[in-house]
Each structure stands twice: as structure tokens, then as C-alpha cells.
Subunit: 452 residues, 2 copies
């Protein structure tokens, strides 16, 4: 409760679904809001795999945070990386920029993928979390085909045209299905020497089934639908090794130049900043009002919060949870500012789960209703068009999708920045040069590239 | 003339307007065509400044070469960088890949900007030729505002919000006008501490007028139109120095963190590969049939060819010239293959010149007709929609443009890849970090960033 004339200061870290919902909920409630994100855009993450597979452009699924919140005069946006919280001094530390005091702090920093202790694998596999990641996946995918086309060693061609997706959750399923469609439909007439259709796409899941959060029948349907697209689904296949040559899983080595990692989830280090109690994945164990125990002016939400749902199981890492959390926390803080009693404890309203498998196939789990195939896909399409932030994006995405659907074409398959993307580790950098060293020994004559 | 059964091999270097037109013109004429480009896409360069200023996305103005030519079974596409030609052995050398023999060679490698001997300036200024360049310009523009917003030193804010465009040709005019609109309309409500409207945009031209290739009245109109958008036009202002702090021209130093270079033209080194006679800008002096004197199986076209028009003046560096050249050279080669007499010498059909100055203003020069203002802009819009390669792009671009026009919003203003773009030189790399060193000494407290 604020009694002095100074407006309370709310700092929100992260402009994902949760942080944005909190900022929107808090505007006009008498607080000064500072929203900090390390990018300048809000990302519609559920469609990131479509950017990665060249169906959509970056700007189709991302909007500048400043543009989204431009009408909120009480909200300041800062592009910067939060590296710590001093809860005693009530201060947030932003790298290279400085310290920002808060009266209320909302941590909505989300999650990254977990390497399960094998951080060295990161040098040989690409994750899919940010726009830059998507650009890197796209670069790897498209340039693998380019390199295969000008290669004459059959083993190397096979390696280049083998794509391994690790992780059988929605992102892994969607990415694998989308790569299969790219290879078997979109690119099919683009090359003269290789047959993109012969690309091998492997989806590896350590557990016994895909989409473990969905009901069993939908998992089964998903395996069948992926198989019909030509995706090999490996279940109970834990990854044992990832190196420059490929991946070892279930005791077998698969030679691949393109390993995509969509497995595990690790919350970003908010719990460490606070010294707070964390779940196994690093998420902050929050109270029923999303506050952090021992810090009643600090809240965590979405993927960085660990909270049980009404069924006693932890809430899933969905955009819908983050968004509802964000709205809820905004109410909690607004009530405190206004001196009103707190709202009842948070309760997640389950709106269902969706995953898309490919052109006109999806699975949808809406409480008692389970949809598969075309009806699920239509439902998915509708929901995502409604959810995308901003009318313009919706219209452009709709045009892109319609076009892709009718033509199997993908307009965004541009190879950009080959020398710079992902240069944070040496191995990738080497891999990134337009030609791998082994290709240099090719018989480099017209017979190696000429029209068939 | 080919008398043996072997199909003649045509190698085309460059998939710009000229190379693509040549490839299209040659298909089905009995030759095997190899089209080599260092990117995987054809770029609609006249709209590149719109990607640079966040009005369009990369994929709106670029199409995969393989997709454009997928129906040409006699055409192979190779993504690679040509580094030399051995005209005695009739071989093209592609970096890291190998050598490719030709019977006919078409050089359509285009032009780059010329630093007029000051190659060190490249470390402090950004050009605008490729998609990666456009992404870098966009990054510099948008992050300059971000940095200004969190800065408290008035001099540094002024430096960050000063944008200098060097070169008063169409690209410079379009870029300067577009930056002015970005600052004065699109971003105007996005920030809390800075006034994007106060951004200073300087367009510097060494010569006595803008758009020197256009008639005088259109140049005058352009200066007035730019002034009304808030662009300072400096004429007879040759650049004397560009360094990390800004630019010196006409004896005056302008502190700026964003210098964009659209001046001069240097043909790519095709003349050097051939040891051929070159014009001052490096373009190959070609015969009336576009062949290179002394190499009647080698042709140069577009920006890499130097050829006089019917008015006795060198043909301009326009997409239309390259495209007509490409079609023409395809006919020359097709006739030779078929044993037919050569077509009459090349004659450029002038379709007019266009430059856009901003929202609803442009200049058009169509022979005796000179248009300015809204009619010219409408004409420009129509022409560009018709010219863009591919129906899908046209539709999406149209939606993006309509949206931008009615809302002043720019959908593509995403800051991506801040750490990797343009890391080819150290200075830029240092500049690229989210925070410049000087910002670190800021009084980093809420008062420096809080809402006004």
C-alpha cells in the first residue's frame, strides 16, 4: 500500500506473453512501469518453427515492444539484459546500463532449453528460442541442401541431408513435420543433382511417447501422421552424444550436419538472483498469488514460476499460463497500490493444447474434446490467427499461409548472413563457411555440378 | 556455332536483374546453363532501402533463385563466389568449390559502392547493397534510438540521433527520406525520454545537385520535398573524413553514430578477371553486342558493363538496363548456337527513371513527361508492384505498404543479431555491443530512464 505521494515503481523483466500481459494489466493503475527485455520485440514463440523452416518472415511473428505499448504513457521500455536482483536494496541490475529501483518486481524471464549437463553439445546443435535462433536453423537447413547439391561424396550427401530433431514436445513435432514438408514438397523441384525428397528426418524422444502432455491417443496419432510425412520417430531414444559428425542415440550413430535441440526446459536464473527455492528445472517456487516466498514484493510467472495447478500437477509451460499469470499479478499489484484486498489465489483456466504436424494435420486437446487431422488443423489455424499480436501481422501471415498452402511454396527461404550467424562458438563458425573443408577435396569439375 | 553433339555450356555469374533475364532468355535454346550467385536469392534492390528502414521484411523483396527458375530443367544453380576467370582455358573459378568450364560466359556481377580510395571509411559507415547490409542499417538506425533513450549526456544523445546519408543519387534520397519518416512519424510515440522527431538527418552530395541523372526541375523539387520532411540537404559537400565520431564534410564536423554510404559506384572486378579494358568505375568496356573485345564468347552486362547509349552518354546503372542487356545477350548466344545471324546491336529502351522521397512524394522522369508529388508516387507504387518478382511477394508487400501508409507504422522494425551482424571489422564490432563504452559512465539510476 502506497501512502506517500510518490508513484510506486513496478519493474517487469521480460516482454513475453507474461510480461506483456502484466504491463497491459498495470497501466493506468497509478504506477510507473519499467519493462526490460533484452530484445526490442515481443515474439510469438509458438510460430517460431515456421520462421525456422522459411514459411514465415521474422516480422510476421514479432512486434516491437514499443509499438505494442506506445499508448501506455506510464510505461517505459528498456532494451537491456538483466543480470541480477538485489532484493534487500530493491534494485534490478541491467548489464552495462545500471541499476533500477523497484517497489514491485515481476520476473517474467521465461525458459531456455536444457542441455542436461552437456553444455558442449550446444556447439553442434541449434536451439529454437529466439528470432536469431530461427534464422540460424533456417540457415543450416537451407545451406545443407545447397552444400549437398554441389557435393559428390555419397556419404557426405547423406550426412548433409539428414536432419535430427531432439525432443518430442510440441516444438520438436512441429519442427520435424515442417522440415519434412520443406524437403518433400517445397524444395522438390529446386535442385538438379540431389533429391530433396530423400532427406532423412529423425525425431528423437527420450521418453516413451511424443507430446507427453497430451492424452495417449493424440500421441499415437502424431506418430502415424509424422510417419506419413516421412519422419522417422525414435521413442525411448536418449541422446548420448552430439559432435561435429552427428548424434549418437540408443547406441546408434546418425551422421548429420543439422541437429536441432528442442528438449528439456531450464528456467532462466531468476531463482538464483533471489536466492529463492527452485524446482528441478530452475523455476521459482511461487506462492498461490505468484509472489516469491520471503519476497512479497517480487512475483514470478510463466515458465520461470513453478506452481501446481488445481489437478495437483505443475502448470505446463504454455503461453496461456504465462498470459493468465501476467494478468493475475497485475491485479494483485493494482489492488495493493489501491489498498484493496488481494484477489483470490491464481487459478489456471485451461484453454486446451494444440500441436501442428504438417499441412492440414494437427492435434488439439480441449478438455474432453480431442481433435486430430484436418479439423484440429483448422482449429489451430483459427486460434493462431486470432492470437497473433497486431492486425497487420495477422493479415500478412494469413496471406503467407494461404499462399504456402496452395502452392507448397515458402517465400522466406533466404540464406542471409552465412558468415556471421551463430559465430559464438568456433565449431559452428567453421561449419558456417560456405564450404566445409572436406568438400574442398571434391573433384571440382563441371561433371560434379552440371545439369543431369 | 556448335557443330558437335555436346550441348554448349553457358555460365552466368550473378543473379541480379541482368543475370536472371539472361537465364530466362536462354532456357530451351539447347544450352546447359549454370547460374552462379554468392547468395541463394534474387534481390529486388530498388526497394532495399525499405528493408533498411523497417518498412518491409527481407523476404518481401527477395526470392530464392532456385524457386524463380525451378521450371528451367536446363538450368543449374550454384551458390558460390566467383573469384576469377581463365579465358584461355575457358574456365570460371569459384572459391572453395572448383572450376567450371564454359563455352559462353555472361558476367552480370553488378556494382558495389566506391569509397573513392578511402577504404578505411568502410569501418565507420554502412553501405546498402545486400540484404545483410539492409539488416545492418536497420540495426544501426533502431539501436541508435534505443541507446539515445537510455543515455543522459545531451551531446551523446545528439550524436546518436544524427544520421548522415552520403550520396544524393536515388538510393541516398530514398534512404534519407525514409529515415526522416521513421523518426518523425513511425517512432514518434515510441519513446519516453527522447523526441525521435528531433532526429537530425543530413543528406550530403558532393556534386551541385541531387539526382544528377534527372532533369534539373526534378532535382529542385527533391530538395524542397526532403526539406519539408526535415532532411538537411548539403550540396557540394564532399566528405573529407569518416571516423568513429562522425563525418567531416565541407570543412565541418558532424558528430554521428550512423553514417550511411550510398555514393559512387565501382563495378565488381570482372574487368580484372579478364584483363579487359575498363571504364573509370571498373566496368568492362563492351562492344555494341555486349561482348568483351578480344573475348567474343564472354559478355558483360548491366552495372559491370560500360556502354554508350544512343545519346552518346554511358548507359545509367539501372535495373532496366541490366534486364534489357540480359535479354539481348541471351538472344546473341541463342542465335550463335542455332547458327543464325546475330541480332542488331543493343539499343536501350528508356522506360524512365523514378525516385521516391517519402510518403506520397516522388519524382518520375518519363522522357518528355516529368511528374512530381503524389502522381509520381502513385506511378512509382504501381510500377514497383508490377515489377516485384512473384505474386506472393507483391501481395504481401502491398498489404505491408497499405498498412504502413494508413498507420505510419512499420512492421519490420526488429532488432536482431546485434552481436553478429557486420563483425567483419573490429570497429563495427565494438560499436555493435548493446552499449557503447561511453554509456557505462552514465548516472545509472531510475531518474535516467523513468517515465517523464
Amino acid at each position: 500500500m502506497e501512502t506517500d505521494a510518490r508513484r510506486p515503481r513496478v519493474v517487469i523483466v521480460g516482454a513475453g506473453f507474461g510480461g506483456l500481459a502484466a504491463a497491459r494489466g498495470l497501466t493506468g493503475r497509478g504506477a510507473d512501469i519499467l519493462l526490460i527485455d533484452r530484445t526490442n520485440h515481443h515474439l510469438f514463440q509458438p510460430l517460431l518453427y515456421q520462421v525456422a523452416t522459411a514459411a514465415l518472415a521474422e516480422s510476421d511473428i514479432a512486434s516491437p515492444i514499443r509499438a505494442i505499448l506506445r499508448r501506455q504513457a506510464d510505461t517505459t521500455i528498456l532494451m537491456g539484459e538483466v543480470v541480477g536482483v538485489d532484493s534487500a536494496r530493491r534494485i534490478v541490475v541491467v548489464q552495462d546500463i545500471g541499476e533500477f529501483p523497484y517497489d514491485y518486481l515481476i520476473l517474467a524471464t521465461g525458459a531456455a532449453y536444457s542441455w542436461f549437463g552437456h553444455d558442449d553439445w550446444a556447439a553442434h546443435a541449434t536451439v529454437l528460442k529466439s528470432l536469431d535462433d530461427a534464422a540460424e536453423v533456417r540457415y543450416r537447413l537451407l545451406s545443407a541442401f545447397e552444400r549437398a547439391e554441389r557435393c559428390s561424396d555419397p556419404d557426405e550427401i547423406r550426412r548433409l541431408m539428414t536432419f535430427v530433431v531432439v525432443g518430442g514436445g510440441p516444438t520438436g513435432v512441429e519442427l520435424a513435420g515442417s522440415i519434412a514438408e520443406l524437403a518433400r514438397s517445397t524444395l522438390v523441384r529446386d535442385f538438379r543433382r540431389i533429391e530433396p525428397r530423400q532427406a532423412r528426418i529423425v525425431l528423437a524422444e527420450a521418453g516413451p511417447r511424443l507430446l507427453a502432455a497430451f492424452p495417449q491417443p493424440l500421441s499415437h496419432y502424431t506418430v502415424r501422421a509424422l510417419a506419413s510425412l516421412g519422419v522417422e520417430v525414435w521413442l525411448k531414444a536418449a541422446v548420448e552424444e552430439i559432435d561435429a559428425e552427428g548424434v549418437v542415440m540408443a547406441g546408434q550413430r546418425i551422421a548429420s550436419s543439422s541437429v536441432f535441440w528442442c528438449a528439456g526446459t531450464a528456467a532462466r536464473p531468476a531463482a538464483i538472483w533471489l536466492g529463492a527455492d527452485a524446482a528441478r528445472n530452475g523455476a521459482v517456487k511461487v506462492a498461490p498469488d505468484c509472489s516469491v516466498p520471503g519476497h512479497d514484493d517480487v512475483f514470478a510467472l510463466g515458465d520461470v514460476a513453478s506452481q501446481d495447478g488445481s489437478n495437483g500437477r505443475p502448470l505446463p509451460g504454455l503461453a496461456a499460463v504465462a498470459e493468465q499469470h501476467g494478468k493475475y499479478v497485475a491485479r494483485v499489484i493494482a489492488n495493493r497500490i489501491a489498498g484493496r484486498p488481494p484477489p483470490p489465489p491464481f487459478r489456471y483456466r485451461d484453454l486446451g493444447s494444440l500441436a501442428i504436424i504438417g499441412r492440414s494435420r494437427a492435434v488439439a486437446w480441449l478438455g474432453r474434446l480431442q481433435l486430430t487431422g484436418f479439423p484440429a488443423w483448422l482449429f489451430w489455424l483459427l486460434v493462431h490467427l486470432l492470437l497473433l499480436a497486431g492486425f497487420r501481422n495477422r493479415l500478412v501471415v494469413y496471406v503467407n499461409w494461404s499462399w504456402a498452402w496452395f502452392t507448397y511454396g515458402r517465400g522466406a527461404r533466404l540464406i542471409t548472413d552465412p558468415d556471421t550467424i551463430g559465430d559464438e562458438d568456433e565449431d559452428k563458425d567453421g561449419d558456417k563457411k560456405e564450404e566445409e573443408p572436406k568438400d574442398r577435396s571434391l573433384p571440382a569439375s563441371r561433371s560434379a555440378i552440371g545439369p543431369k
